[in-house]
Amino acid sequence: MAKHHVTTTINGEPAEFLCNVEDTLLDVLRDELRLTGTKEGCSSGDCGACTVTIDGRLVCSCLVLGVEAEGHAVETIEGMANGEQLHPLQQKFLEEAALQCGFCTPGFLVAAKSLLDTNTNPTETEVRYWLAGNLCRCTGYDKIVRAVMDTAADMRGA
């Protein structure tokens, strides 16, 4: 059977790709579209390394079929910076060294941006629960949580 032809929007730009039914959105992003900022960790929805948004809703791209992207708007880590201008979360993660090996970082950033888009003043508890589905195997959680809190404070002040 022929591959499915999928028409979608990725980071605001029209995109199309061919995929088999069992190919996940993560497979398509990385292997077809070469958007390799989205990482593959567990491929079972536990680690959050593959986090993207679909129509603004946070999801694990390993648990979405590529064919399901038809007609929807996908946002990945590649769409977070505005050209050379880093998103405030990206800037803060660098300034405060909220990353060690960096593998979990795109997922954390996409998830944290999704939180701050709807809650500009989260408590530390809210940040920790929101990010509970993102694992950092370097265990750098404190710096990550602090960077998200500090970014929120900066963005409120701006």
Partner: protein, 288 residues
């Protein structure tokens, strides 16, 4: 390896026709169980029917004083629905305990039920609340109590071609509410060792007039505990009634030993959680 067919019909009738024509079709709602099972090689359906283009399966509507919750509506959508959360806080908090923020963006009540896990977090509160599963199939529509849908671990009573379209939650009387508590070894991202849902109604004098207590993860399916309800109805939730709830809950358990908890531990915790969930549901009900 066989090719998987993918369809995303726009109507219930089309979904039923597709499923009825296939020997190994699977419904895809959020995919948070199905895709994991496919990845692990546990399942390779010949047909995947994505139901998220069917409006009736994704919407949350108020009807006749109660709610019709689409079987494919996501946990996040349930959590954002203020009226549903106010009327059915136990059902919503059960669903919201399923997985992370990312999983909440996709996981659904219908999927949580039809996956058939004994530890499914949204199921005890649906049963306690008297929710009805609205089912469509080749011979038309039918209704079933939620407890009748799951028959064992991974086993459901739906016939070939049938699917759960939505859940009907009844109108809430005054002084009535529900609660769900789950015990896991950490605070997030784990599977229930024990779950306990309680749905209560009181009269104006503060006497309990209706009660249902349901446990999860302590038997092959969710367990209704009639003895706990009997201890509550007619009481004002005195200590003796709460102690009877805990004892009845512990007595109703038929759990397994696994890495999350021993038989003895689950039996003990079931009583503790049933009692605590009763107190929470009562506080909510009395303030309604």
């Amino acid at each position: 390896m066989k090719v998987i067919q993918y369809e995303a019909p726009g109507s219930i009738d089309a979904a039923v026709a597709l499923l009825a024509d296939s020997e190994d079709g699977r419904v895809l709602a959020g995919g948070t169980d199905l895709l994991v099972q496919m990845r692990a090689g546990l399942r390779r359906p010949g047909l995947i029917v994505d139901v998220k283009k069917i409006a009736e399966m994704c919407s949350i509507e108020q009807r006749d004083g109660g709610f019709i919750v689409g079987a494919a509506a996501s946990g996040a959508e349930l959590g954002e629905h203020a009226a549903l959360k106010a009327a059915w806080p136990g059902v919503v908090e059960g669903m919201e305990l399923v997985g992370s923020t990312q999983i909440q963006g996709r996981a659904s009540l219908g999927g949580n039920l039809c996956n058939g896990s004994p530890a499914a977090d949204s199921v005890p509160a649906l049963i306690a609340g008297g929710a009805i599963a609205l089912i469509a199939g080749p011979s038309g529509r039918r209704e079933a109590e939620v407890a009748a849908v799951v028959t064992g671990p991974g086993q459901i009573s739906l016939a070939n071609g049938e699917l759960v379209v939505a859940f009907k939650l009844p109108a809430r009387p005054a002084k009535s509410s529900d609660a769900y508590l789950r015990f896991i070894p950490r605070t997030e991202m784990d599977i229930a060792v024990v779950g306990a849902a309680v749905n209560l109604t009181f009269d104006d004098g503060g006497t309990c007039t209706d009660a249902c207590v349901v446990l999860g993860a302590v038997a092959p399916t969710a367990v209704v505990v009639p003895d706990a309800a009997a201890a509550l109805i007619g009481s004002k939730l005195e200590d003796s009634a709460l102690e009877a709830v805990a004892a009845a809950a512990s007595a109703a358990c038929n759990p397994i030993d696994d890495k999350r908890g021993t038989v003895e531990y689950r039996i003990k915790v079931a009583g503790v959680l049933a009692r605590r969930a009763t107190v929470i549901a009562a506080d909510r009900a009395r303030s309604n």
